[in-house]
């Protein structure tokens, strides 16, 4: 009896080793034909890339060129579906918002249909790198770290970070927080990165989706919510009982469309498009159509960026 149990453990442990290899190696695809192909591919790949393993990820082209997109007649654009008024879905199931307004125009000028892909903040880079979308238009702040992973086009909006709290307990400085105070952030946003780096002692409560974070904030699961200041200002205007105690935090940044690293044809087209849109003051029109109701006209010139020349 004992001996059998022992052999079981030993075989179990070897199973773990094998299983980990199998899982991470072949992604547990269960169809036998594809695993066979994959195995071949993997072998040839590892032979090819023995010299420069670092570039292996970048050389595998996980994107569609401008021509391929036009040919297929459909462009996949990653947007938020729960971040009003920038990207959300109305009661008829249609995507709306400042980012979507731009997406609609891009589709029109390319002459293709748009397939909206609902994204969360943390999956934006992943979606581009794995070719699941052609463009991300999800309020994507340009940062150095991100620029190493994806290619940003010209910016179309200004942004900084902001912190909002309930108006009966306003946080005006991040240095005043007690040990138990938790700040709500959304996973994969610049607010998360900034707070992790600059205030490592502050406890963060992280959510995947905007809708979840906002509901948790309303429910007072955290003392404050840190995000793009555009977003928290909009929240304080749209909902009663909240105050933006810290309207600007961190550096002034910009928001831009992003494409998969190396997708030059699409990037060049986007930049030209953004310049020609800048010449017709498109983003002022966008602001007036989607953001005016929330922000009023006072933020129009500080938020909007119109590009007049190529980088």
């Amino acid at each position: 009896m004992k001996k059998r149990f022992l052999t079981k453990i030993v075989s179990g442990i070897s199973a773990v080793v094998l299983a980990t290899g199998a899982l991470t190696g072949c992604g547990s695809s269960d169809s036998s034909t594809t695993t066979a192909n994959n195995a071949d591919e993997q072998v040839s790949e590892s032979v090819d890339t023995t010299e420069n393993t670092d570039t292996a990820e970048e050389t595998s082209a996980n994107y569609r060129t401008l021509d391929e997109i036009k040919e297929s007649g459909v462009i996949n654009i990653g947007v938020f579906s729960d971040k009003s008024p920038f990207g959300y879905v109305d009661e008829n199931g249609d995507y709306q918002g400042y980012d979507v307004y731009l997406a609609e125009r891009i589709g029109e000028d390319l002459g293709v249909e748009i397939n909206y892909v609902s994204t969360e903040a943390a999956s934006r880079i992943e979606y581009l790198q794995t070719g699941k979308v052609d463009i991300i238009l999800a309020n994507f702040t340009v940062t150095e770290e991100r620029a190493e992973e994806v290619d940003f086009a010209l910016p179309y909006m200004n942004v900084a970070l902001g912190v909002i709290s309930h108006d009966d307990n306003v946080v005006t400085s991040l240095d005043d927080l007690t040990e138990d105070d938790e700040i709500i952030v959304i996973s994969g946003t610049t607010a998360e990165t900034y707070l992790e780096k600059e205030y490592p002692d502050i406890k963060l409560q992280k959510y995947d989706a905007y809708a979840e974070a906002k509901t948790a904030f309303e429910n007072r699961n955290g003392i404050a919510w840190a995000n793009d200041n555009t977003e928290v200002i909009a929240f304080s205007i749209e909902n009663e009982g909240y105050e933006v105690g810290i309207p600007s935090l961190g550096s002034a940044d910009t928001i831009a469309p992003a494409v998969t690293k190396g997708n030059e044809t699409l990037l060049d087209w986007l930049n030209e498009e953004l310049v020609s849109l800048g010449n017709e003051n498109f983003f002022h029109a966008d602001y007036e159509a989607t953001l005016l109701e929330t922000y009023g006209s006072e933020y129009e010139d500080t938020l909007v960026i119109e590009n007049t020349e190529l980088p």
Partner: protein
Amino acid sequence: MQLMGIELLLKGNNFLRMLSGLWVAVRISLVSVILSIGLGLIVGALMTVQNKVIKTVMRLYLEIVRIMPQMVLLFIVYFGTTRVFGINIEAELSAIIVFTFWGTAEMGDLVRGALISIPRHQYESAEALGLSKLQTYLYVILPQTLRRLIPLSINLITRMIKTTSLVMMIGIVEVLKVTQQIIEANRRTSPNAAFGMFATVFMMYFIVCWPISLLSKHLEKRWSDR
């Protein structure tokens, strides 16, 4: 305000959108169950084979399915495969692959159990009648095991439908995500919608799964009596 969000169901296409979100979940599980039954019959037969290599592979497969949370498998297939092989698998297809991978193991194990419970003399009589191994499996053994498998596979459908709530995490817009979108779009006018809306989703899942699990229980009882 008083209705805690229930009123949003009547606004625009909201309720229809939630239903079609639920249908996405049901569709994924139905396709996966059908594939699992087919593949499970093969895998189950393989599990009874007395070959060391096949045996080890099957054990390993079963053990992986037994321990790995479906969510982990979803992430590996959806995000991992592209990274390792450069193949882009769509979200819904990833979900079907993972659910079939899981369902096949469960069905296979059930088929194996059913197969070894069939008395030896049946195989021998079939052989004596001149039936080949495949014929014996298809015409003699399989029909007898099917009756035992049907209630269990119906049960598997409900478990799969419940597990489909996870696909929201890999970006599939199903009922939970639609619900969040509705809560978000109406935050200003219905700040308490989270209560009513999530309660609605809870009941929707219940209304779909409860009859199916009753049916499975009923069939199991009825067919085990004979």
